[in-house]
């Protein structure tokens, strides 16, 4: 009798539903809950902020990390996170969010959460009067 081949499978992936406000310089941690069964493997966890349009999801910011998933004989609920750095390349506004596990062909993909990330305007930098307090040979 040969060994039972247990492929690695991922079940649903869930994202938090709460809306968040972020601004440039922040880091948005997206914690995902997913299920897994099968052999251990390393897979990318990928998340993106963008806008859903008629042509698909227009990604603006994204991030990924490698998940090392242990062997699970039966379906196990697991949790992992990925951090997206909020940069000035994203304009103020409401954005959608999704996450997936797997590479180019995802093993599992989350539903897209609409308008859950609000990027707020970064306040302008404001300087007062600059003073030369000292000048000296060093």
């Amino acid at each position: 009798m040969g060994a039972v081949y247990l492929p690695s499978e991922f079940g649903m992936i869930l994202l938090p539903l709460a809306n968040v406000q972020v601004k440039a310089g922040d880091k948005l941690r997206i914690t995902c809950r997913y299920t897994h069964r099968g052999k251990a493997e390393s897979v990318p966890l990928y998340a993106s902020i963008g806008s859903t349009g008629w042509t698909g999801f227009d990604e603006v910011l994204h991030a990924s990390k490698t998940l090392s998933v242990p062997e699970d004989a039966s379906w196990q609920a697991r949790e992992a996170y990925v951090d997206i750095a909020i940069t000035t390349s994203i304009s103020a506004g409401l954005y959608d969010l999704y996450a997936k596990i797997g590479g180019t062909i995802p093993k599992v993909i989350s539903p897209t959460l609409q308008d859950v990330v609000e990027v707020t305007e970064v306040g302008d930098s404001d300087f007062g009067e600059i003073s030369i307090t000292d000048y000296a040979k060093v």
Partner: protein, 162 residues
């Protein structure tokens, strides 16, 4: 008798009148320190400073330097940010080209490069002692006639033999 006047500026502190001249020579480094109140998100700006001459329309920069000026996250109130930039004094080269020539009463200014309106200037405070450049020019002035004489003398000698 009033012996001195000092200004206390909120967010900056006591403003010390800076009128003393600094005499520098090529190879020296001038450290220009600034204090500036800042309000806004955490961000890194560039502190820029230059030695030169204030003209009617612009500041004629001769030497300059940059340094990063990290500003903390201070969204509500102004926080005083202190920074400095070191300007290396480079003497002028051959015939006074490049660098700074020896001279008195150079002017000094500092600004936030990303927001050039935020600037401070102090005039007539930098003196530059004899630079390498002028030494070279002087030396060249002495060597040139000798070299020319060296070129002319053989010609004169040849003429005499005939």
């Amino acid at each position: 008798m009033i012996s001195s006047l000092q200004v206390f500026r909120p967010g900056v502190g006591w403003i010390v009148p800076l009128e003393e001249k600094v005499t520098l020579a090529p190879g020296d480094t001038l450290r220009v320190s600034v204090a500036v109140p800042y309000r806004g998100p955490e961000r890194e700006f560039t502190l820029y400073s230059s030695i030169g001459s204030r003209g009617l329309l612009w500041f004629d920069e001769v030497l300059s330097a940059r340094a990063s000026l990290p500003c903390p996250d201070s969204p509500e109130k102004f926080t005083t940010v202190i920074g400095y930039v070191d300007i290396e004094i480079i003497g002028s080269g051959w015939f006074g080209v490049g660098g700074i020539s020896a001279g008195n009463d150079y002017d000094l200014y500092a600004k936030i490069e990303e927001q050039p309106d935020v600037m401070a200037e102090i005039d007539d405070v930098i003196n530059i002692a004899g630079s390498n450049g002028s030494d070279m020019t002087d030396m060249l002035g002495m060597i040139m006639p000798i070299m020319m004489l060296g070129m002319v003398m053989p010609m004169v000698g040849e003429g005499m033999e005939e």
